[in-house]
Symmetry: C2
Subunit: 123 residues, 2 copies
């Protein structure tokens, strides 16, 4: 479910955050379903439990999960938080688009890139 890429320069907790966020946003993890415990996942990934805890804290801060002491962490059931995080991703995309535009990359090239990624031909 979760894989750490040690060639990735980003911190481990950030990789975990992004991975879980992805699984929640696309619906792979259903609302109210339980996440692995901080200790269990720590053992599974051979890392420290504090690192998992840090990732879970951030996910909770974003409203993507909620935690119950003594029971565990669970996927949030609120739909608006999903939309909110998707909007943040779109904002990051927008920033990258601005960089591309300001770097003199032609509009058609960007459009091709989008088409290829989404494999949409009916445009």
């Amino acid at each position: 479910m979760i894989v750490i890429d040690y060639h990735d320069k980003r911190p481990i907790y950030e990789q975990i955050i992004d991975r879980f966020q992805l699984l929640i946003l696309n619906g792979a993890l259903e609302p109210d379903s339980q996440l692995p415990s901080v200790r269990a996942l720590a053992v599974d990934l051979s890392i420290n439990a504090n690192t998992i805890q840090r990732a879970y804290s951030e996910l909770e801060r974003r409203g993507l999960i909620y935690s119950i002491k003594g029971r565990g962490n669970f996927v949030s059931a609120q739909k608006d938080v999903v939309k909110e995080q998707q909007d943040k991703l779109l904002e990051e995309l927008r920033q990258q688009l601005v960089i591309c535009k300001e770097s003199g990359i032609e509009f058609i090239k960007v459009l091709d890139c989008v088409r290829e990624t989404f494999q949409e031909v009916n445009l």
Copy 2:
């Protein structure tokens, strides 16, 4: 010409790299034109000259500038390096697009984002 954003989490040398790369890619800095000296820019930005040096070294490694001992740093005159760096930016865009797609963001929303950024209506 160059501005440092201390609210930006990225290292200073990286901000300088990106800023100069942008100016070179979009043609604001013409081939063979001279860049500020490492010392002069350091004083101007109130940072250490080594930080400028580090940024210039990376820009030279990318082939975007060339340096002459005792004279200064100059914008590269080779067109293919511009294309090469633009392709790298497109690859970063592609990765962000994949994240958006895998996060369940609809194709039309991404397309709207592209349209708005490039302000193209004839689609």
